[in-house]
Structure formats: structure tokens, C-alpha cells
């Protein structure tokens, strides 16, 4: 690395929450993600867009090392969180996942009560020892996810009994409860109707005050509405990324142009 490059990297780390450099992902022989460099700013919403199968979810899963669980999956390159290499041997995955939460495409509440769904994360990380402390965490997480009013009378009912949109907000509340720094969301609205989607989009905008958010979405309107930065992936490469406004009005690459004008994807 030249002195200039080192300096640039330093600046990137100072300014950004997550910095990915030359990230490659292989599923067995298949090269699913190629040489991705991406910076993710603090207290910003970054959306990942691109045609199906281009590697958005794969990249997202790199950020909390969920790829570790997939057999035959190999990640190379460097990803840092606050300047700390998350693929470093000495790093504890459990702690990483406490700092980087995740919300999935399909709502996946545990078959437990609403209360226990929220309390699950804090319990395994030893947060909220006393009953009153845990009650507080549950209430504040549910309120921040905009769900408290709807479920406060049914905290002991199973979380699987809520509606789809409520379940997804429950999953968001569950992720918030461990007080992470980054929240990853993989198409969080794809299983929801427009009203539930609007609620979640509003929620994402509020959560930005306290969290860094990365969201995968298939809807360009959604990316435009909720995110400050957008990254466009195509066939496993990161084609371009930048300010959402800029990328949608003035794409530099013709593949981006083609995708956002609906010519392919």
C-alpha cells in the first residue's frame, strides 16, 4: 500500500461505521461476490439494490458473519466494524452479532411469547438481570419498533399469533433489544402489504437516529424513500454506490441506468 492509500483507508475508517475492502465470497466453487469495496456510514440507511441472485443477501450476511453457518461458504477480504476486523481470529462471533443485528425477509418470531421473543437476545448476552429491568427493555424495544400499543395486553401470547406486519416489527424489536450498533435487513417488507410496509419504512427512518442500517430491497421506490446511500450490485460485483439521490437521478454506469429505468432485472 502506498502512503496515500494508507491515509485514504484511515480516513474511510474514521468516517464510516463499516468498511469492506476487496470482499470475495465463494459457495464451493461458485464465485458469488467479487472484489466488493463499500463504506457504510454511521447513522445512515444504506440500501443494496440489484437484480435477483446478484449477491445482495450474500454481502449482507458477510457483515454479521452469518455465512459461517452455511456449509462450503468461504469469505476473503477485509471487513471492519469501527476499525476492527470482524473476520479476525480473536473476534468473538457472539459479540459481533450482539453489535450487528439482523432482520430477515420472512418474519421469523420464535414460537414463544411476545415477551420472551424480545427478552431472548438480552438473556443470552446477560443484559437485563432483574425482572423490572427486563420489563423495561421489552417495553422500550417494542415502543421503538412501534408495536407496544398493539401488543401490550398480549405480551404472554405467542409471537407467532401476530399478523405478518406485526411479526416483522416484533423481529425488529427483537433485534433492537440487544442494543446493536448496526441493523441488517434483508428485504424486510417483501412479505407485507403496503400499509405494513409504510409503517416499517417510517420505523426505519426513526431508527436511523440511533442505529446504522443496511437494507436489501427490490423496490427502488423504497430505496429512494428510506436510504441516504445506495449500492447497486450486478452479477456479484458492486457496480456503483453513492448518495441515493445522485445514484437515481444521475447514474454513472449504464448497467445502473438500465436497472433503475427497468430495462433489466
Amino acid at each position: 500500500m502506498s502512503a496515500v492509500e494508507v491515509q485514504e483507508a484511515q480516513i474511510a475508517h474514521d468516517l464510516h461505521k463499516v468498511v469492506a475492502r476487496d470482499v470475495n465470497v465463494y459457495y464451493g466453487e461458485a464465485h458469488a461476490l467479487k472484489h466488493v469495496d463499500l463504506d457504510i456510514g454511521s447513522n445512515e440507511v444504506t440500501s443494496l439494490i440489484g437484480p435477483s441472485g446478484c449477491g445482495k443477501s450474500t454481502f449482507l450476511r458477510c457483515l454479521n458473519r452469518m455465512n459461517d453457518v452455511i456449509e462450503g461458504c468461504r469469505v476473503t477480504g477485509q471487513i471492519t466494524l469501527d476499525g476492527e476486523d470482524i473476520y479476525d481470529k480473536s473476534l468473538d462471533v457472539v459479540q459481533l452479532r450482539a453489535r450487528v443485528g439482523m432482520v430477515f425477509q420472512k418474519p421469523n418470531p420464535f414460537p414463544k411469547s411476545v415477551y420472551d421473543n424480545i427478552a431472548y437476545g438480552p438473556r443470552i448476552h446477560g443484559i437485563g438481570a432483574g425482572k423490572s429491568e427486563m420489563d423495561e427493555i421489552v417495553e422500550s424495544s417494542l415502543s421503538r419498533a412501534g408495536l407496544w400499543e398493539e401488543v401490550k395486553d398480549r405480551l404472554e401470547k405467542p409471537g407467532t399469533g401476530l399478523s405478518g406486519g406485526q411479526q416483522q416489527r416484533l423481529c425488529i424489536a427483537r433485534a433492537i433489544a440487544v442494543n446493536p450498533e448496526v441493523i441488517l435487513m434483508d428485504e424486510p417488507c417483501s412479505a407485507l402489504d403496503p400499509i405494513a410496509t409504510a409503517k416499517i419504512e417510517e420505523l426505519i427512518d426513526e431508527l436511523r437516529q440511533n442505529f446504522t442500517i443496511v437494507i436489501v430491497t427490490h423496490s427502488m421506490q423504497q430505496a429512494a424513500r428510506v436510504s441516504q446511500k445506495t449500492a447497486f450490485f450486478h452479477l456479484g460485483t458492486l457496480v456503483e454506490w453513492g448518495d441515493t439521490q445522485e445514484l437515481f437521478t444521475n447514474p454513472r454506469d449504464e448497467r445502473t441506468q438500465g436497472y433503475i429505468t427497468g430495462r433489466f432485472g
Partner: protein, 460 residues
Amino acid sequence: MNLILLCLIMVVLTVIGYWLGQRQAVSAAGGDARRLHSLPSYHGFYVALCALLPAIVLFVLWLIVEPIIAEQVLISRLPAEVQSQDPNALRLLVGDIKSLALGNIVSREIDASLQAAADGYASVRGAGRLGMTVAVLALLLAGAAWAWRRISVDHRARNGVEMIASGIMILASTIAILTTLGIIFSLLFETGRFFEKVPFFEFLFGTKWSPQTALRADQVGASGAFGAIPLFAGTLLITVIAICVAVPVGLCSAIYMSEYAGPRLRALAKPALEILAGVPTVVYGFFAALTVAPFFRNSGEALGLTVSSESALAAGVVMGIMIIPFVSSLSDDVMNAVPQTLRDGAYALGATKSETIRQVIVPAALPGIVGAVLLAVSRAIGETMIVVMAAGLAANLTANPFEAVTTVTVQIVTLLVGDQEFDSAKTLAAFALGLVLFATTLALNVVALNVVRKYREKYD
């Protein structure tokens, strides 16, 4: 004519009927099979079925009814004073005449009148056989001809064949259900007779089991006590021991197979475990009696414990091994059915693998696991061979696993082995025990299947 030959002829005629029906259908359509409502093969099947089914029904009925009629004829031909003698003697005589007619051993002197009666009987049976052959073949041909004449372009042979096929299925399942009902009713009936001799409450709540009843009034020590509590207790003790072995081992191997083992190891390990369920129980029985029981007795001696050579422990442990696959295989299936998204959810919150298994997967799969255990329990309760060989016959009312105990199934076996009067309380007690056993396992199965079904509904 030989019965086997007759069957062969029926089959051959049916096949010919199929072939002719098919050809007739094609020629009815002027050689263009596409004009037919049904494929030619359906026309063929239609002819074959119309020929064969009525013939088979007649065949079976004839086989059932003919001997009865022949016997009536035989009796009516006997002299009046012979007919009016005591029914038991008459039955013996009729049996001898039949044996003579069939060339078997006869228990009395053969005189001319006996020989004549036997010849008469033989000729009646011979005529019956001939009549049957003619009638069955005639019916077969008539059925075939009737179906053959109906073949036309518009004839809905396919619908007909479908109807006949579904009729056959319904008949088969009806037979299975009726058999079950028959067993239940005969159990109920005989149990009712048992409770005429032994009071209901004495049976269910009595604590002394000693089923020897006196054959003669002056026999000693044969008063007969039918308190089934020691048997229930023995069954319970052995079942509990078996569950204590099977549940931890089965559950852990299920968790290993569904969560830790790779797909290739799993494909090997699962059938390997299921082999345990395929070992004949007799083999488990002598394994228990010859290997496990002496081992426990010797180890017990070394520790200063008295373990009898037939112990609840030996039988229970071996039975536990036998039911491991019931627990492991079914639990593995239900844990595999827990959606991957739940695992991902737990991992993403920072749960480790064992935390995920303990706190998410097992609770999610719990109803299914409970169902699996209940099925295993009902299997253990009904198991006989292992306990006969390893647990002993002493009806002790004890909770000590080192003593010999006995179970409901073992007692049913001992009550019925050997020469028995069929209407003594001793024999009838077997039916009462059988009914209790049946009711228990039925209830367990119903509960288990419902629990499993509930679980299935949640994730599909």
C-alpha cells in the same frame, strides 16, 4: 376337479377376456382408437373384471356353504335312532364318517353302514365340486359376454373400471376395520364373562395376584386372587426404566443427527439406528436374560447389592434400547421440520449452536418429541418377549428395580400357555388384562398422534 386347476382356468379365461375386450373396442371404433371414449385397455379391464369378480364371489361362497350342506345331507341320511342320540356322540360319528370319506384315520371299527355313509358323503362332495366348477365357469363366461356386448365407441369403460377399483379398495379397508371391531367386541364379551366371576373393583384395585383356581374342591393353595395392581405396577416400573434409557439416548442422537451431523453421515446413521427397531424381540429377550441380567447381578454383588437374576432393571434397560429408534427417528424428523429461518433468527441474535438447540429448536419441536416418546411408551407397554424372558413371573408389588416383577403381557402369556378350561376365571382374566392393555395403548396412541398432528399444523 382340482381347485388349483380351476383357479388357473379362471385366470387364463380372464386374460383372454381382457385381450378380446381390447380388440373388440378397437374394431368397434373402426380401427381408430382415438374415437373411443375410453382407452382400449380400459375396455379390456372392464371385460376382465366383469368376468372375474362375480366368479370369485361365487367361488368363495360355494367353498364356505358346500361343506355345511353336505353335512346336513349326511346327517339326514343316517338312521333315525342314530340321529336322535346325544349331540356330542353324533358330532364324533359325523367326524369319523368325514375322515373315512377323505381317507384319514378313523377312531372306530369300520362296518358296512359306516362305509356306506362315507361313500354317500364322498359322492355328495364330489357332485358339489363338479357343480361348483360348472357354475363358476358359467358365471365367468356370462359376465365376460355381458361386458363384451356392451363395448361400443361411447361405452364409459374407464369410469366403470374406476368405480370397480374404488369398490375393491373400500372392501379391503372395510375388512381391516371390521377385523379390529371384531377383536374389540370379543375382548369386551369375554371380559364381561370374567367380571361375572371376579368383581370389577377387586380386579382393578386388588393388590394380590395369584391366578391359580382350584380344579377340584380339595386342592390346596388355589383360591385364586385377581388383583391386577402388581401387574400394572410391574409394567409401569419397567416402562419407566425403559423411558429413562430411551429418552436421553434417543433425544441426544436425534439432536446430533439433525443439528450436528452432515447430510452424508445422517443418511448413514439414521437407518443404522432404525435397525435396532428391526431386531426381533426374542433376540432382545435372550440378550436381556443371558447377558444383561447376569451382568447386573454380578455388578450388584460387587457393590454389595442384592440383584435377583431376573430383574426389572435388566428387562427395562434392554427394552429401552429397543425403543431408542422410535424416539430418535421421529424426534429427528420433527427437529428437521423446524424452519431454518428460526435457527437463523437465533444465530443472528448471537446465540451459539447449543443455545439455539436448547432454547429454540427443542422447544419448537417439543410437541413432536412428546408425541414420539408417547408412541415409544405404548410400544414398551405392549412389549412381551423381553419381559417374559428377563423380568420373571413373580407378581411382586415393589418399586425396587433389582427385584423380579411381572407385567400385564407376561401374565397374559402364562395364563394361556398349557391346557386350559376355556371358561375358568384364570383364562378369562387374560381377556380382561388384554382389554386394559388395549385401552391404555390406544389412548396413548391417540394422544400421541394428536400431539404430533398439532405440531405439523403449526409449520406447514
